[in-house]
Symmetry: C2
Subunit: 248 residues, 2 copies
């Protein structure tokens, strides 16, 4: 049984303002919830429709577990067809990103707005073993339910931080790759294994503020007739290209 | 000024049933509309907010052009922020797909459900110069407004047909690549330049019915922790890999 205050809390978490205020976000679906339960994220409460959820990892804090009906779940879910479980987790404390300690290619998102793109980039980054994503302050909130949904649990494994990218990159000495329309062919580029890889906003690309920090502009060749690729597609093709030799 | 019957017609085209009945679909946004106007698609009617649309290709059939206000456009648009132009086009007559005439790799979509994925696959296919996409009957309708939107005008250049894939592939003698979880590493695969490349449904992958037709199962390596990639991402990475040598 869901209390009024529980309904009101979870519904408030659909909005960024209240996620920030409560320092909480939520995850839906058995697979994604299981991945978060198996991670270092701290569970706040979990709502389960028993007949929909055959098994979840053992939940030690029984006081956080609530059995609900599918109609009750519908009231707090963002999904058209709720998947039988919704779990609220604490938003982890933001850790400062230390440019001195970068030992891999870090994905940089400069003003990505679409939650589906952001979630898909997280999922793809996880697939190819990237560990860190740094976002400009105006990038969509990573705890937006649609981002969490599209990331399919991968967010439990990827570290996403928000930062003033101008300040951060001004301290950097590693190569900075930037996906632009007039850069070097990525298929002929030898990517170094440490540095940054910037992808820009869906409509406007990489901001003028960040362009001066790019040490190597890169481009996916093709597109004789079409103008551009979706940013989550560009990111995926670049990630695959960078990891290609590892798998070759 | 929009008439009631115009509003009712365009609104009906939000639904597949009425697109089929009227043999019409619509496109929004200056860029996408321009690409369709410059293609072989036949214009039925176009609704323009003059202050939003500085230039479009010359429209010869003045009787098909209607100036409207942004509030009127809002009534027929599927977008939260309509972009100043909406054009209705005829759905072209479906041409039979002739397996004998295949002279490139043909992308095959087996039960793709998400319009965003379908549109993104069309956009990516166009980027890499693929010309043909064949869809199973249960794949989302290519004239769904969200598919058209996500394809960003690329649909004007790509031939998309629907077919009983079992029957079609049973007549085929070319290689059939299928994206599965346990196939050969795509980065070690020498793709032939003629044949078929199948991508399956978002949740269930390639159907059991089609699996027997796969002559070479392929997989994108990675994913130690995560289970799968989004299908539009998988398709993009495969398309890039297939075209890679052309650009290398």
């Amino acid at each position: 049984m869901l209390s009024k205050s529980q309904i009101s809390l979870v519904k408030s978490l659909h909005q960024k303002k209240f996620r920030k205020e409560n320092n909480l976000f939520f995850v839906e679906g058995i697979k994604a919830v299981t991945e978060f339960l198996n991670s270092s994220f701290v569970l706040y409460s979990i709502y389960i429709v028993p007949e929909f959820v055959p098994k979840l990892p053992k939940l030690s804090h029984k006081q956080k577990v609530f059995e609900v009906s599918i109609n009750e779940l519908q009231k707090i879910s963002v999904l058209q067809n709720p998947q039988g479980v919704l779990a609220v987790f604490e938003i982890p404390k933001s850790i400062d990103f230390d440019v001195e300690k970068v030992n891999d290619l870090v994905i940089v998102l400069d003003g990505i707005q679409d939650p589906g793109n952001m979630g898909t980039i997280i999922r793809t980054a996880d697939w190819f073993g990237f560990k860190n994503i740094i976002c400009s302050i105006d990038t969509v909130d990573v705890y937006n339910p649609k981002v969490v949904q599209a990331s399919m649990g991968s967010l439990a494994r990827i570290r996403v931080v928000y930062n003033d990218l101008g300040i951060l990159l001004s301290k950097n000495t590693l190569p900075v790759y930037g996906a632009l329309l007039d850069g070097a062919n990525i298929f002929k580029t030898n990517f170094l294994q440490k540095g940054y890889l910037i992808f820009g906003n869906e409509g406007n690309g990489i901001s003028e503020e960040l362009k001066p920090f790019i040490s190597k502009a890169i481009t996916i060749p093709g597109g004789e007739a079409t103008e551009s690729l979706n940013v989550s597609i560009s990111a995926a093709i670049c990630c695959a290209e960078i990891r290609r030799n590892m798998f070759k």
